[in-house]
């Protein structure tokens, strides 16, 4: 019974955090792209545009939601549901940290026993394979959306996008197989536990440092395949060129359109989390606690607070003279909280995990602002004549290294 209630609470927390993270990922993308392009991005709705996602959500919810008359009604209606469903499910198997041990609380009539739960919704033995399978099923959402819109541009966009996604699933699976060979387990918790500890006392035992150069190649292959799986630049031809015309989400308005975008950002988050877990060591810090890695989050928060105060000296808007110091004080308070050992200990793994996943998401957005896109035939040729042989050769050589070691 306790397990049931705890699971429901965990699921609710994870769902809430994920959906908020999706909205703010879009904010981050707009700001970072803007700064790369030497402009500022949204800054009117809330301080530095932080309430912009809220405004976007309100707009999308209240728009008129119509169904065109020429579409195939059942599949047109189902397609965004399928896309979002298979994008949100993989979060259930991703671990965010070690165990959370809550002490028992006894306050009069309220009696909550001591709870020890893992910071993961469920630890499947075949976690990695589960994520691969569900990502493969997500292709149906895109294909059905393109086809049911009964419109040649949508059909072509949907077919191109789904062909791209299934072509890059193969190098992605082969790139995932190389660290699995080294770590010898398919469950995510086992994978992260295999990356604990440090080489030579200071170099973290992340997978990219084990089995030396081949896992770095796997990491690069995985990142490239992940860009293609989530239809992001430089592989976003089905999304961008057809955006000039329409693309597979042409006939969708308001919340259904938002559902497709949510599915895309959720795929990005899932893939970043998987890359962090498989290659970058999950929640383990990059240098040992003996050298002070537990103080790094507090240092970063304190630095952010100092930055806020510096900006408050010459603010962009007059009332920032008041709001920025308030935000600065909030950052200092957070830094103080992270210094308390009782709070920091369970939170530290989550912070490291989030930091690494955010770095990969930042690289996603950075690449979007920097690189031009592939033409469709170049994209498919790249997958089948370059990535697939390199992934197979890499797997073979990693197998040799594992067998000889």
């Amino acid at each position: 019974m306790t397990f049931f209630i705890v699971s429901i609470i965990k699921a609710a927390v994870v769902a809430f955090v994920l959906l908020t993270a999706l909205a703010y990922l879009q904010w981050l993308e707009r700001k970072v792209l803007a700064h790369i392009q030497l402009r500022v991005g949204p800054r009117r709705v809330g301080p530095h545009g932080l309430l912009q996602p809220l405004a976007d959500v309100i707009k999308l919810i209240t728009k008129e939601d119509m169904m065109p008359s020429h579409v195939n009604k059942v599949f047109w209606f189902l397609a965004p549901f399928i896309a979002v469903l298979f994008a949100l499910i993989p979060i259930a198997v991703i671990p965010f940290g070690t165990e959370l041990k809550l002490p028992a609380i006894n306050l009069g009539p309220v009696h909550i026993p001591a709870i020890t739960t893992a910071m993961q919704l469920t630890d499947l033995n075949i976690g990695v394979l589960f994520i691969l399978g569900i990502s493969g099923l997500g292709v149906y959402g895109v294909a059905l959306a393109g086809w049911s819109s009964n419109n040649k541009y949508s059909l072509l966009g949907g077919l191109r996008s789904s062909a791209q996604m299934i072509s890059y699933e193969l190098p992605m699976a082969l790139a995932i197989a190389a660290p699995l060979l080294v770590l010898n387990t398919l469950s995510f918790r086992g994978i992260v536990d295999g990356q604990a500890g440090f080489f030579f006392g200071f170099l973290p035992k992340w997978t990219i440092f084990q089995a030396f150069p081949f896992n770095i190649i796997s990491f690069i292959l995985f990142i490239i395949a992940a860009f293609a799986e989530t239809n992001r630049v430089p592989f976003d031809l089905p999304e961008a060129e057809n955006e000039l015309v329409a693309g597979f989400h042409t006939e969708y308005g308001s919340m259904k359109f938002a559902a497709f975008f949510m599915a895309e950002y959720c795929n990005m988050v899932t893939v970043s989390c998987v890359a962090t877990l498989l290659f970058l060591g999950g929640w383990h810090p990059p240098f040992p606690a003996a050298y002070g890695s537990s103080f790094l989050p507090s240092l970063v928060m304190a630095g952010a607070g100092v930055l806020c105060f510096l900006h408050a000296a010459s603010p962009a808007r007059p009332f920032d003279r008041i709001t920025l110091p308030v935000v600065g004080v909030a950052f200092f308070a957070l830094a103080g909280i992270f210094l308390i050992p009782a709070v920091a200990l369970p939170l530290m793994p989550i912070i490291w995990f989030s930091a690494k996943a955010l770095v990969i998401l930042f690289v996603y957005i950075w690449v979007r602002g920097t690189l031009p896109r592939f033409r469709y035939d170049q994209l498919m040729r790249f997958a089948w004549t370059f990535m697939f042989p390199v992934a197979v050769a890499n797997l073979f050589l990693t197998g040799l290294v594992v067998a000889l070691a």
Partner: protein
């Protein structure tokens, strides 16, 4: 039992639907129900492999081809006496098959979910590469022949 019922319903839907895309998606539903059954019986690797390979790749290609060929709705022809003889004949056939199976296989009790623990990838991979190596290699060659055949057949069109 629920998943078996879902599989049967999707299978019947597959045959009954007039549009090929609905049939293909019903087949995906059958694959999904089968994967859930494998999972309940303890073969977790097979369940995941079923989802990845069958429902996630093969059926996607089926759906592609149906979309590209723009297959339209089928028209039901005049069903004369066949529509009254169809379902009873099906039931008789299934009854014969079920009685044959029940007679040949040893009597077993109810299936206990969770008692089969040898479905992990380790056991699976080991069995595939030692005991069942020959069927594995032969199947690979068979798939290669099928791919070559498909390429040759498709190439004959372009002269």
């Amino acid at each position: 039992m629920i998943f078996a019922a879902i599989a049967v319903v999707c299978g019947i839907n597959l045959v009954v639907q007039t549009h090929p895309i609905s049939s293909a998606l019903s087949l995906v539903g059958v694959m999904g129900a089968l994967a859930a059954l494998y999972l309940l019986l303890g073969g977790e690797f097979i369940a995941a492999a079923q989802l990845v390979v069958y429902a996630g790749a093969i059926m996607v290609l089926f759906v592609f081809v149906i979309m590209l060929l723009n297959a339209g709705t089928e028209h039901k022809g005049h069903r004369t006496w066949a529509k009254y003889a169809g379902v009873p004949m099906l039931l008789v056939f299934l009854g014969i098959v079920a009685s044959l199976i029940a007679n040949r296989l040893p009597a077993s009790g109810n299936v206990v979910f969770g008692e089969f623990t040898k479905g992990s990838p380790l056991v699976f991979g080991r069995a595939l590469f030692t005991t069942y190596l020959l069927p594995f290699e032969v199947t690979s060659v068979l798939i290669l022949i099928a791919i070559l055949g498909a390429i040759v057949l498709a190439r004959k069109e372009i002269d």
